[in-house]
Symmetry: C2
Subunit: 227 residues, 2 copies
């Protein structure tokens, strides 16, 4: 019978972020959270104590954190809401995908369950956000394929599954290159040491050279075939 009081806006944001970071490395370090949320590490520590008290995370001082089951559930709920709101912004209000994320963060936490439900229906029950990430219900389908475009070897071809949604400029640039979920890409050449990579966007794309960061923000289907 914990948590009668509704989670504060900030708590949702923390939990959501912890969930994401946990998919890369678990337990999650205070500093990585601080960086992701753009909050001073000390403030994060404060909040972690509160989250632990509410049973949302397992917190071992100096050794990072993990989400509890309750925390996981909260995170999925937050992520679901976020992605539904994103779709609302793009599909119903005509926002560009690089604007959607920011705007969504603004009001997702003030959307009631009922509004979320109705939005979901009005949008024809979408399965993905505008950036290609799945909209979770109870469980978030884990990607079998956690390869980024950068990890493709020269000659390989793959389909874009989803792209990072938290850097507007990057998204805008991607859009200008025709990069979006569902599109096929071909790795032409790759420089070592996080150097630039040459790719073509199918069909009928010219060769393009993109930087490491961009290439590493594009997640592709693991089933790659030699061309």
């Amino acid at each position: 019978m914990p948590e009668q009081i509704p989670l504060s806006e900030q708590v949702w944001e923390y939990v959501k972020q912890i969930f994401k970071l946990q998919q890369e490395r678990s337990p999650v370090a205070t500093s990585s959270l601080a960086e992701a949320l753009k909050i001073a590490p000390s403030s994060v520590t404060e909040m972690l104590k509160r989250l632990a008290k509410r049973g949302l995370i397992n917190y071992t001082p100096y050794h990072g954190i993990t989400l509890t089951d309750a925390g996981n559930e909260a995170a999925l709920k937050a992520i679901r809401r976020h992605r539904i709101v994103e779709r609302f912004l793009t599909d119903m209000l005509g926002f560009q995908w690089h604007e959607a994320h920011q705007e969504a963060v603004l009001f997702e936490h003030n959307v009631s369950d009922e509004v979320e439900r109705r939005l979901y229906v009005a949008l024809h029950k979408p399965t993905e956000c505008p950036h290609g990430y799945p909209i979770p219900s109870k469980t978030l389908p884990v990607f079998v394929t956690e390869r980024t475009l950068y990890e493709l070897e020269p000659g390989e071809e793959a389909v874009i599954m989803h792209v990072r949604d938290d850097e507007p400029e990057l998204l805008q640039f991607m859009a200008s290159l025709g990069i979006k979920p569902g599109v096929k890409v071909h790795m032409v050449e790759k420089d070592p040491f996080q150097g630039p990579v040459g790719i073509t966007v199918r069909p009928r794309g010219k060769k393009r050279t993109i930087g490491w960061h961009l290439a590493n923000s594009i997640y592709v289907d693991g089933a790659a075939k030699q061309s």
Copy 2:
């Protein structure tokens, strides 16, 4: 060059409420604000000092408050947003009018200017909220007619202009009686001393007896004609 920092959610709520109360009686008393916002009077006093510091109100301790020009502008902006969001909830998400007000309060303050603008367009630039109140742009058209249904004399007939939006149960009941903006009503009989009144809702309404509070929550067109 005051107010660089955005107004807090609470500040918007105060300013909006002050605006409404000011239309009935000006200056506005601390206690009426406290009652309207369901906040302890002492807390309201605290906030009034902050509002005064930000130049939103003229505050004379013990003698009530008035909105400054800046305050007025802020209030109209808040009201506009509120009413647009209400329409969004009813028109696009299918909420009942008695639910719209509550839900709108939840997230209206987290809606950005851009989202508001797009909502407004997507809704085909509505001129009124679901309860019949006008959606202001720069200035709020003051009602020439500030008569309530209760003030009609027996035999008079009038058109409903708008109804109070902040009491869900009341709204639900009104809906069940067919009472909404644009509908004609006929005053049949009226008891003195805030007693019940008998009315008919045109066209083809049976006679109905409603209480004082309800009758006084329905605002009608001043141009009444004897029937």
